[in-house]
Symmetry: C2
Subunit: 250 residues, 2 copies
Amino acid sequence: MGTTQLESVPEPKYWHLKTVLSDALDSEFAVGEILPNERELAARFGVARATLRQALEQLELEGRLQRRRGVGTTVAPPRVGVSVGDPAHSWPGINDTADPWRPVGSDEATPPPAVARLLGTEPDRTTHVVRRTRLAHGQPLAAELLYIPDASVPHLSSIDAPGGTARARTLLRELARLELEGQEQAVELGSARAEDAKELDRLPGSPVLIVTTRYYAQGRTAAVAVATYRADTCRLTFGDPSGGMQLLAG
Amino acid sequence: MGTTQLESVPEPKYWHLKTVLSDALDSEFAVGEILPNERELAARFGVARATLRQALEQLELEGRLQRRRGVGTTVAPPRVGVSVGDPAHSWPGINDTADPWRPVGSDEATPPPAVARLLGTEPDRTTHVVRRTRLAHGQPLAAELLYIPDASVPHLSSIDAPGGTARARTLLRELARLELEGQEQAVELGSARAEDAKELDRLPGSPVLIVTTRYYAQGRTAAVAVATYRADTCRLTFGDPSGGMQLLAG
DNA sequence: AAGTGGTCTAGACCACAAG
DNA sequence: TTGTGGTCTAGACCACTTT
């Protein structure tokens, strides 16, 4: 045979392309640098543009690249670690000066069935909803919907109008009066709803990490937060070395 | 105008298709049921197969569908919640009868740079590597590589040959002699390496949730685990309502 | 106006599982 | 052998950003 090696299990072109590009990113490009456009890259590698795009998609999924319509494809910085599991910081309304969340509005709505189940309310019962955004270095990392049943904020004054951030702050302040007794969290993969995508500066459908947090207070589920993190730029961190190990002692 | 509504911001076909299919899944299909094949679905909706596939891809990403080459597209069951954050269960080697991890082999290798950094070892220093698989209901959920520096298993007998599961069990048993002092975890999105994909019964490149756990013992980082969870079938859970809230008291 | 990535088409062939 | 999903092509047009 003239071929020095025959691939008994030939890997797809886009897969090979991905590794080639990945190596090139490590050695020949700096963070923030802009790559040649897709048509040129495809021509350079001798593949169709769709195939080239399949490789780029995976690299973007892995946080190596960032693509923006009308602009180009750039080399992404390493993912930022965002602390998600620490109750002391995540309990809404705690007035930490380092609170990374910014309230952007409030509303009243019927939560999705999954949330209603966690809250233990009837499926068609409305709750307060506070919308918040989490920023880091000026970039939006996450968009959150915080569902608060009436029972958790009994002393709510009805001065402020729904929809405003003033109302949102009032709700958070009321919620903070409760003493947090525990929390449960879950992380899963999803795709950004149109509304979240806008806030995250991404296209609808782009991959996101959905963090659902169930807050316990007064022996009940006091609130449920559904936070949508950009999967391309975020690495979610849980726990820390100094504490929390009491679990093992018991 | 003859049109009752003009879309000033027309949504992409595949996006609309996705919502239509999603509704159909809720109302007309049962879990495990097999959908019509892609060519027929595309014809039925009057779109190209590639467009139809774009919608299916997103639904699979969201855990609604499962596609298998040569078989077909089926309606996926709800994601299973897998406990990830509880140190009492995740500390390797603890002889819990309910331990969901099954050792499948061991080796000696130089860890990836990111892991070496966590371990505090030189980049080219080899460590023991234990390969484990996590199962639920007979289905593989996760594949893990556990990196253990020599210093963490000083009493290791060199009877067993590397590569075998016997050696893996020995390593885990030795590791369990250490008292766990703390752990740190991170979750991020990735795509399955060829090796992991095989173990997870997925195609290479399919989306996975990568959980990196740093175990502390004896004041050092005693081991680092890199676990690759199927993103389509898994919902990772952290913490629990009964404990862990000591953090707030301090 | 020009250039970028995003969407879409209508084909073709391949790898795999099951009969 | 048949039928499935997976890969790939060579185009076209659209939405968006920048100049």
